[in-house]
């Protein structure tokens, strides 16, 4: 659920694939090159790893109980990330797409609010800043 390595979408897709699942909805969060009008050069994610894994597991379990889906998975990268690299992936597989989209949105929102991971942006002008939760849907 937490990795220091580059996230490979295909590898994640094929890893532990569920043959009973007909549809998967993905959320892929990537590092963007701007924030509040500032040019972002790279990111660092800090993490309380053991607690983050517990919290992510809890969020995924809750989604599997709340929504009529087959399975939910998530992977968050930590450490130093370059622009365009994948920071987080959420996958929800289900029989019907509506519930899968809804569950996927709920999971990424909860990851952003309940998992002890922190983002530091390093800007083109050399300054850096720890970011507070943005609370954007």
């Amino acid at each position: 659920m937490i990795t220091k390595d580059v996230i490979d979408l295909n590898r994640f897709l094929n890893m532990d694939a569920d043959p009973a699942s007909g549809a998967s909805v993905f959320f892929v969060g990537k590092v963007r090159n701007h924030h509040d009008g500032k040019e972002v050069k790279l990111l660092y994610y800090d993490c309380f790893e053991s607690m983050a894994i517990k919290q992510m597991k809890r969020i995924l379990d809750r989604a599997e109980k709340t929504f009529p889906i087959y399975r939910a998975r998530a992977l968050h990268r930590i450490g130093r990330l370059e622009i365009g690299e994948i920071a987080v992936i959420v996958e929800v597989s289900s029989a019907h797409r509506a519930e899968a989209f809804e569950a996927c949105r709920a999971i990424i929102n909860e990851i952003k609010h309940e998992v002890p991971i922190w983002k530091k942006e390093v800007y083109a002008n050399g300054k850096e800043e720890w970011i507070s939760c943005e609370h954007r849907p």
Binding site: G29, Y45, D46, C47, F48, S50, M51, A52, K54, H76, A87, V88, I108, I111, K112, H113, E114, V115, P116, I117, W118, K119, K120, W130, I131, S132, C133, E134
Partner: protein
């Protein structure tokens, strides 16, 4: 009693350390621990969440010998 305190993100940088051990002669709550750390490291405790042994707790929670207390700034994953 002895409490382990762990710092993350900007708090790790402000405190200048990953963790430390804090001793209390008698009982203490999370809030009393935060008060002591605030003065020792000049850290901003408003807006912080606290986890004891990897579970979020309220600030009136009583601490026990050997507890691991994590000071968590507002999270920003995803």
């Amino acid at each position: 009693m002895k409490i382990e305190v762990r710092y993350f993100a900007q708090l790790r940088e402000t405190a200048g350390m990953d963790s430390e051990n804090i001793e209390f002669k008698s009982s203490a709550t999370v809030m009393e621990l935060l008060d002591r750390l605030k003065d020792a490291h000049r850290i901003e405790i408003r807006g912080l969440s606290v986890a004891v042994n990897e579970e979020f707790v309220s600030q009136d929670t009583a601490l026990k010998d050997g507890d691991s207390v994590a000071l968590l700034p507002p999270v920003s994953g995803g």
